[in-house]
Amino acid sequence: MKHLLSAADLSRDEANAILDTAREMHAIQNREVKKLPPLRGRTVVNLFFEDSTRTRSSFEIAGKWLSADVINVSAKGSSVSKGESLRDTVLTVAAMGVDALVVRHNASGAVQRIAQWVGCHVVNAGDGTHEHPTQALLDAYSLRARLGELDDRHVVIVGDITHSRVARSNVLLLATLGARVTLVAPPTLMPSGVGSWPCETSWDLDATLSGKAFGDVDAVMMLRVQRERMSGGYFATEREYAIGYGLSPQRLDLLAEHAPILHPGPMNRGLEISSAAADGARSVVLDQVQAGVAVRMAVLYRLLSGADEPVLEEAK
């Protein structure tokens, strides 16, 4: 695998291999010295055209724990506004002897374009409203940790599907891993053509969570309401959204005890998720963050070392 641009790039075997590698990487997080040697002498650049704290930090830690030299380049504001083409910006950075570019961009497809221009490995760290494949991998990792294999498991994803790269990548990856997915959103936040996606859709959160619509639910993933995108009048008020699509304490009672609650963060408490849901025993929000480092280590390791052997002796 040369790049990781989309969750659709991953076959079931490849996805499981990354998740298995991540499990081994995860083990070092409890060690006193969190450092492995395999990427020593390799350079990874986090090229972020869009603000991010958790994803950039997660990739940075992942690279450093694998002994790569990690450089953070903030290219906030599109290259257009700076008067330089994206191609020139990226070629300039890549020309510095980079082995891998981890790219986030506010435009869908930007990372795919970049991968066509550069010779090094490219990882999509989120492109516009398109995809965020490592988020989907860490979500799958967290789900597997709670539920075991994901075949026939029913995962419900709730919120602003239209603008969610997390939802797109999760639908693709979870389907690859054999899970069933139901997307729940008001009609205004459900993307065009969603009927052709490998999932079910619903406007009714209560019917879905209770299992009346599409069967018992094994996990629920709440998406952040992106307030910065909400000027388009997608719903009337935050209060009305919370009533219809928030994971309230009352709705928690509809969920099975075993069903984990996921959120990619940052959370809008009281809007899409209540504190009772975010902080309760079923919440795996912080597990997701921890899994993020392990998954990104696995991705960088597999891309840069070309290793198909998932075992790192030092990690055992």
Binding site: S78, S79, V80, S85, L86, R87, D88, H105, A107, S108, G109, A110, Q112, R113, D127, G128, T129, H130, E131, T162, R165, R168, P191, S192, G193, V194, S196, W197
Partner: protein, 433 residues
């Protein structure tokens, strides 16, 4: 210089000889004597009235790195055109007499096609107040087409005023139909399965259709001429069909790329396929072809939109809208309309010359191939084909989506007022600097 075209087929009809002399079609008949004329063997070639483009972006003034009036004129001549309408969204905007006169004058200097300036409808294309339409119409450029193309005249009252205002000049308002509240500046992909999957901002068909529906009612109310730019949806075709049946003076154009390409091509996020309005699904393409065939859509217009490479080397959403069209238009029409049997060559002449000239009030172009008519004509080899090589195009830009594609038919010669601008498929005086 006189030219005798031997055994040419006018509009694909029976072979005949055509003598071009003193700027006009001096004689048509069999076995014409050559006299002093240079003889061109036109056996198997089709003679068309010179093509007229209602919708060209020549980028001058302002973006001469992407195109100049001279380079765009050269591309037009090679594409078989003898007249083009230069859109007003230049920098500065063509919203007053001195700009449109400059454009017309530069077109005369280039001397390859007749360049007819389009004037802006609103000052600065801002959609707030009328541009100096009357002054532009009365100027030496004698503007007859007004458009804010690139932007929609979305204010209904301003659109009504514009339609009323142009009546004394027998001019037409050419509308870029895009409701900015339904498809804003970020909208770059047909809203549907593809936009949802790729996460690209959607440009719904109804954003075009609702504006066209409103405008045809305004045209009826004012009794004015309305022209709809680059129709892209089946719904718009239906609205125009209904309006024409009602007797409303509405005309419409379709681009070659909307006749051939679909939104599925956006899967790789290649900005070469980014146009406004966006490429649509196959059902819309079929409706556009049918609409052009039955005359609901009057004309093919290129929307030739040259862009420097650095304006396309961005993420899809950030890249400039538009693609080249002048040198490939006839080939795309031949593939989509002639090869499919939807139009014959007389139909092509009607949609690419006669009607566009009539809509734009371009005197001397789009005329019948008859004795005494101005010799603005194009010779086409219908049996030939052309491999589109971006590096061989004469435009200053290279943003063609047809690179590597073989298109049927080829322009062999173009005559402007009896003088050849293209012979043997090449510019007579080379590529202008």
């Amino acid at each position: 210089m006189s030219y005798l075209l031997k055994n040419v087929a006018p509009l694909g009809g029976a072979p005949t000889d055509v003598l071009i002399d003193n700027g006009v079609l001096a004689e048509l008949g069999t076995d014409l004597a050559r006299g002093a004329a240079e003889v061109l063997d036109a056996d198997g070639l089709v003679l068309l009235p010179g093509l007229v483009d209602l919708h060209t972006h020549l980028r001058e003034p302002g973006r001469e790195d992407a195109e100049t009036i001279a380079s765009g004129s050269a591309a037009a001549a090679l594409g078989g055109f003898t007249a083009v309408h230069a859109m007003a969204n230049t920098n500065p905007v063509a919203d007053r007499a001195e700009i449109v006169e400059q454009v017309a004058r530069l077109g005369e200097y280039a001397g390859l096609v007749e360049v007819r300036p389009v004037g802006a409808v609103s000052a600065g294309l801002r959609g707030e107040t009328l541009a100096e339409i009357a002054t532009m119409a009365r100027s030496a450029a004698a503007v007859r087409v007004f458009s804010d193309d690139g932007a929609c005249v979305h204010d209904a009252r301003l659109m009504r005023r514009a339609l009323e205002y142009v009546k004394p000049f027998d001019a037409v308002i050419a509308q870029h139909a895009q409701d900015p509240r339904l498809a804003d500046a970020a909208a770059c992909c047909h809203e549907g399965e593809v936009s949802g999957r790729l996460g690209l901002p959607g440009w719904p068909a109804v954003a075009e259709e609702s504006i066209v529906a409103r405008d045809v009612m305004l045209a009826e109310h004012t009794g004015s001429r309305l022209h709809v730019c680059h129709v892209s949806t089946a719904g718009t075709v239906e609205v125009i069909r209904w309006a024409k049946a009602r007797g409303i003076e509405v005309t419409a154009e379709v681009t070659p790329h909307h006749l051939l390409l679909t939104c599925d091509l956006l899967a790789g996020y290649d900005p070469l396929y980014k146009v406004n309005p966006p490429l649509r699904p196959a059902d819309d393409v079929a409706a556009l072809r049918a609409g052009l065939a039955d005359g609901t859509i009057d004309a093919v217009a290129t929307d030739h939109a040259p862009h420097a490479a650095h304006d396309k080397d961005h993420a899809f959403a950030d890249a400039a809208f538009g693609m080249l069209g002048l040198q490939t238009a006839l080939g795309v029409v031949a593939e989509t309309m002639v090869a499919t049997g939807l139009l014959d060559w007389a139909g092509v002449a009607d949609r690419m010359s006669l009607r566009p000239a009539r809509i734009g009030r371009v005197a001397g172009h789009g005329r019948p191939l008859q004795r005494g008519e101005p010799a603005n004509v194009t010779l086409v080899d219908p049996a030939a084909s052309q491999l589109v090589d971006p590096d061989a195009l004469v435009s200053r830009s290279r943003n063609t989506p047809f690179a590597g594609r073989t298109l049927p038919a080829a322009v062999r010669a173009t005559f402007l007022r009896g003088r050849p601008t293209v012979l043997d498929g090449k510019l007579v005086n080379g590529i202008p600097a």
